[in-house]
């Protein structure tokens, strides 16, 4: 395994090293919490960040599998189009925003505006999420095992939002719908794949009330 010590190094240096060693999987990066935008736009490979990661961790991921063993900063997995990003700890504000595809798994809690404008990714938070989670989601699945804050799934347009706990308030343009057998099987698959202990039959499903809520 290639180990890159990022201590006191800048983003360009570490990013170049990552790209040079991408075929020697997996690559481990240590002492990287000061770097924002680390592991950006990789199309393949496996990278493990030991400890915490900074903001924009895994931004524009295009196929790599990336794991952080501690917490990640704000905007984790921003604009991902493919691949998998796993956060063993907590994620900050706005994890999984603008994603088109791929999977984001956060084993701890996630902050406000998680999964905003998700356009097709699977975003799973095993803990709780903050306010405004799932805002203007356009497609994909958002699964929250714990509780959600205010304005949950605000102005949902398309996609599915599943929650195991409670929400403080539900956002505009939302509708609670019965779980189907397909939903239960899908959730079971997610939980099995990512080793999350939760009962899918206890989840609530939220969908959009209208695909066109703004202008007639």
């Amino acid at each position: 395994m290639t180990v890159i010590n990022a201590k006191a190094k800048d983003l360009k240096t570490i990013s170049n090293k990552l790209k040079e060693n991408l075929n020697e999987e997996p690559i481990e990066v240590t002492n990287a919490s000061h770097l924002h935008g680390l592991v950006a736009g990789l199309k393949h490979g496996e990278v493990i960040i030991q400890g915490n990661a900074g903001d924009y961790f895994g931004v524009l991921n295009a196929g790599a599998t990336i794991r952080v063993t501690g917490d990640s900063g704000n905007y984790t997995a921003d604009n991902m189009t493919s691949g998998t990003i796993i956060v063993d700890g907590n994620a900050g504000y706005g994890a999984g925003q603008y994603c088109y595809d791929g999977s984001v798994i956060i084993y701890g809690d996630a902050g406000d505006f998680t999964a905003t404008m998700n356009k097709g990714a699977v975003i799973i938070v095993a803990g709780n999420v903050g306010d405004e989670t799932g805002t203007y989601m356009l497609d994909g699945d958002l699964v929250v095992v714990g509780d959600a804050g205010e304005n949950f799934a605000n102005f949902l347009i398309r996609g599915n939002v599943y929650i195991g706990g409670k929400w403080k308030s539900l956002g505009h343009n939302t509708r609670v719908e019965e779980l189907t057998q397909g939903d239960i099987e899908k959730l079971s698959g997610y939980f099995q794949t990512y080793d999350i202990k939760a009962d899918p039959t206890k989840f609530t499903k939220i969908v959009a009330a209208s695909e066109k809520p703004f202008y007639k």
Partner: protein, 523 residues
């Protein structure tokens, strides 16, 4: 103000029922409460008895069963009725009936401080002598990103097509812009609606996706826009062009995001944008993934990283607080900054925003230039003026005020055939420019229209060259405010330019633009 004689009443006698069959219809005479019309009880003929009595209520025109009546102001609507013009009246009626505000396309409609009240100062005996446009060279090239990235943009002419998205424009219009850019060595811009694949090779002058057949010289550039809706954005998208533009705002609707109404979201556009067919694509007004300037700085850094530090990073601003906004962009590491004035256009916006929000283009430039000078980067970090630039004359004036280049957005649409109907948002553009309907799109031949765009750019470049050389310069980089005079007090006050005749700036401009710090609690 009296309304006597303010309106002309005309009746089309060919379709008027009463004219053809006296006595059969007298709706106008019956409905008019002001005695404009009179019905002859004996003959049954309707006639206009008193033109002067018409107050312009148009109730007769509305009730006429044959639509035969027209009521027009005898003078300009603005003299006859201002502020209660027919347009204002109709707008209020519309809101009263629907509860909705007005949306429309294009830019501002009413007179706005603009370049027309600025004149160019030619060179004579006391200043550097004029240059010969016909027999001497003039440097019009602009380089963006020199020393900060591996592949700077070398614009052959000081022009760009500003961002206009696929969705707002048809695919054919996007292709035509790319071809026009390729023929003139300038840059086109994806806008925020994702990439039309053809833009990649057409903008560089190639007619095939393998980049083997170069059809147009010298070849242009493609700017990739990064914006708040992030439509169709990926690592590949960012690497498919020659520069990345971070959109903060735009002139037509600063402080708002993008509006692409569902009527224009076809299957193809929905696929690129990742939204349901027919749903509204409303870009957020701000980046959900930026909360502080430090975040934005990190964003610029990862954009450079993802593009392997090859391409310049540009910023696009709406017309707000030009000094502070430009200063912020410099701090963020911009290689170029576009500032889009009030007169800037759009495919769709709330009418009141396009009409009434933002600083005029000519008033944006002095503070923007001062910010660049105060940071020691004027002419290094390039300033691109946008918003109502119509020709080489406007372009020259903007560059003499300190811009390095200008963008032609609305003018480009007009060069493609647009007649400025202000209805881009409806998706029915009969010239195929802003429509997604196949029957409309088929009217726009990208190669033919690309040539029109190139012709327009060549003509404007010649105009800039004429003005640059008659002002005594061989390069647009040498232009300065000394090459201009304001022709009225208002323009001198807005721009700091010397007032024609007085040959000095107004007293409060004598020390140049002085930035006023925004108080923390005002931010």
């Amino acid at each position: 103000m009296t309304v006597v004689g303010a309106f002309c009443v005309s009746v089309n006698r060919e379709v008027c029922i009463n004219s053809r069959m006296p006595g059969k219809c007298a709706t106008c005479a019956e409905i008019c409460p002001h005695g404009v019309y009179a019905l002859d009880a004996y003959t049954g003929e309707m006639r206009i008895r008193n033109y002067n009595a018409c107050v312009g209520c148009r109730i007769c025109a509305e009730f006429c069963p044959e639509d035969a009546i027209r009521i027009n102001p005898a003078e300009s609507e603005y003299i006859a009725r201002y502020p209660w013009t027919l347009a204002t009246i109709e707008e209020i009626h519309y809101k009263a009936q629907t509860g909705e505000y007005l949306l429309r396309g294009f830019g501002t409609q009413q007179p706005t401080p603009h370049f027309d009240t600025i004149t160019v100062v030619p060179s004579q005996i006391a200043s550097p002598e004029p240059r010969d446009k016909y027999r001497e060279a003039c440097d019009l090239e602009v380089v963006i990103g020199e020393g900060t990235c591996e592949k700077p943009l070398h614009l052959k002419l000081p022009f760009v097509w500003p961002a206009m998205s696929f969705g707002a424009l048809s695919k054919e219009a996007k292709m035509a812009l790319a071809i026009g850019a390729a023929q003139t060595g300038i840059a086109t811009n994806t806008g925020e609606g994702g990439l039309v694949d053809e833009e990649m090779w057409l903008s560089r002058g190639y007619i095939d996706e393998d980049f083997t057949k170069k059809e147009w010289e010298p070849g242009g550039y493609l700017i990739i826009q990064w914006s708040t809706g992030r439509w169709g954005v990926s690592t590949d998208y960012l690497n498919s062009g020659d520069a990345v533009e971070v959109k903060i705002g735009q002139g037509a609707k600063p402080g708002m995001g993008g509006h692409l109404l569902g009527s224009k979201v076809t299957e193809e556009i929905a696929k690129v944008r990742g939204i349901p067919v027919g749903s509204d694509a409303l870009s957020p007004c701000r980046y959900y993934d930026v909360q502080t300037l430090e975040d934005m700085k990190n964003m610029v850094e990862f954009l450079r990283d993802v593009t392997n530090y090859q391409y310049p990073i540009l910023f696009k601003l709406g017309p707000s607080r030009p000094y502070d906004d430009v200063a912020a962009c410099i701090e963020l590491g911009a290689d170029a900054i576009s500032i889009d004035g009030l007169v800037g256009g759009t495919g769709c916006s709330p009418d009141i925003v396009t009409q009434g929000v933002g600083i005029p283009t000519i008033a944006c430039l002095p503070p923007a230039v001062q910010a660049l000078k105060d940071h020691g980067v004027h002419r290094k970090v390039k300033l691109i003026a946008l918003g109502g630039i119509r020709n080489g004359l406007d372009a020259f004036k903007a560059m003499a005020m300190g811009a390095d280049a200008v963008g032609f957005g609305s003018a480009a649409e007009i060069a493609m055939g647009c007649r400025v109907c202000y209805a881009c948002q409806k998706g029915n553009c009969p010239y195929g420019i802003t429509s997604q309907k196949p029957e409309m799109r088929s009217r726009l031949d990208p190669i033919e229209v690309g040539q029109q765009l190139a012709n327009f750019i060549h003509a404007c470049a010649e105009e800039v060259k004429i003005l640059t050389m008659l002002s005594g310069h061989n390069s647009i980089a040498d232009l300065s405010t000394e090459d201009l005079r304001a022709m009225d007090m208002n323009t001198a006050a807005l721009t700091g330019l010397k007032l024609a005749g007085y040959d000095r700036p107004l007293s409060f401009w004598e020390e140049g633009y002085k930035p006023v710090a925004i108080k923390a609690n005002e931010k």
